[in-house]
């Protein structure tokens, strides 16, 4: 039987879809018997979900303008070389 501490060290393997079924099953047993680790797994999953669900914000216009100015300069220089 895994302790919570041992389970915690394996949490990423538990969350990783590519982990082999035997290991997963072993870890699953702990989660199904331990309410604390069940909540821990659930809230870790949700943490990842909220981060992954948030699209990056738009870049400030001034930053964007400077990026394009620099890129256009580089592109023009290449064109001139060719």
């Amino acid at each position: 039987m895994l302790t919570c501490k041992q389970f915690l060290q394996e949490l990423n393997d538990y969350l990783d879809p590519s982990t082999d079924p035997a290991t997963k099953c072993h870890l699953e047993k702990h989660v199904s018997e331990c309410p604390n680790c069940f909540v821990l797994v659930d809230t870790t999953k949700k943490t990842l979900q909220v981060y992954k669900g948030l699209e990056p914000q738009t870049i400030p216009e001034s930053v964007k303008a400077r990026l394009w100015k620099a890129l256009e300069k580089k592109m023009a220089a290449r064109k001139a070389q060719a």
Partner: protein, 206 residues
């Protein structure tokens, strides 16, 4: 930039065209990835000015070295690597080498902090505005040490593999794994404090 262009976005075709000298194709690649690269740069450097420099340097270098892109990884992974290297250089320059050595061993074992074990309120994404949510998530990431937040950004946000992350940062695979675990747990802890279901806190009145 818009969802319609995303739907028809074909990275490898654009890279192919850009390598053949098609500036418009490269422009499309930049348009598609600039926001993500800027976010990555901002999270690593935690400084607007540095993030802007990183954004520029990353795309300028990519354009310059497009011939060197072998196509054995995704173009996006390649540009992420360039951006991370630029961002880490900025970070080192700003804070001094000693504070941000990414290959220093970090403690992986003992967790002495009392864990916050509480279920979350339902759908926090819907309870907060986009800006509020962004603020909460950014603030949590900013509290992580550079070692941890960089690994978290690469693995969980940019979705690089463990191997790619190790390679990009010049650290071992076990180091990536342990830092990712620590980062995820720390973020979970912080967000739980924010999103825990309030009604279940029976001691709230004390």
């Amino acid at each position: 930039m818009t969802p319609t262009t995303t739907a028809t976005f074909d990275e490898s075709a654009l890279v192919e065209k850009a390598r053949a000298g098609d500036a418009q194709a490269f422009t499309e690649l930049v348009n598609h990835y600039e926001r993500k690269i800027y976010r990555l740069a901002k999270h690593i450097t935690q400084n607007d000015e540095d993030a802007e420099d990183v954004l520029q340097e990353a795309f300028l270098k990519a354009y310059e070295h497009l011939d060197g892109f072998k196509g054995d990884s995704k173009f996006y992974t390649w540009i992420v690597r360039i951006a991370v290297n630029e961002a880490l250089m900025k970070l080192r320059k700003r804070k001094g080498d000693r504070t941000v050595s990414l290959d220093e061993p970090v403690e992986t074992g003992e967790e002495t902090v009392q864990r916050e074990i509480a279920v979350w309120e339902d759908n926090p994404e819907q309870r907060y505005s986009r800006e509020e949510m962004q603020g909460i998530l950014d603030e949590a990431v900013q509290t992580l040490k550079p070692d941890f937040r960089t690994v978290f950004m690469l693995r969980d946000i940019e979705e690089l593999s463990t191997e790619e992350t190790a390679d990009t940062l010049g650290i071992s695979i076990p180091a990536v794994k342990s830092r990712l675990l620590r980062a995820r747990l720390a973020l979970r802890e912080k967000l739980t404090r924010q999103f825990r279901r309030k009604g279940e806190d029976v001691f709230a009145h004390l």
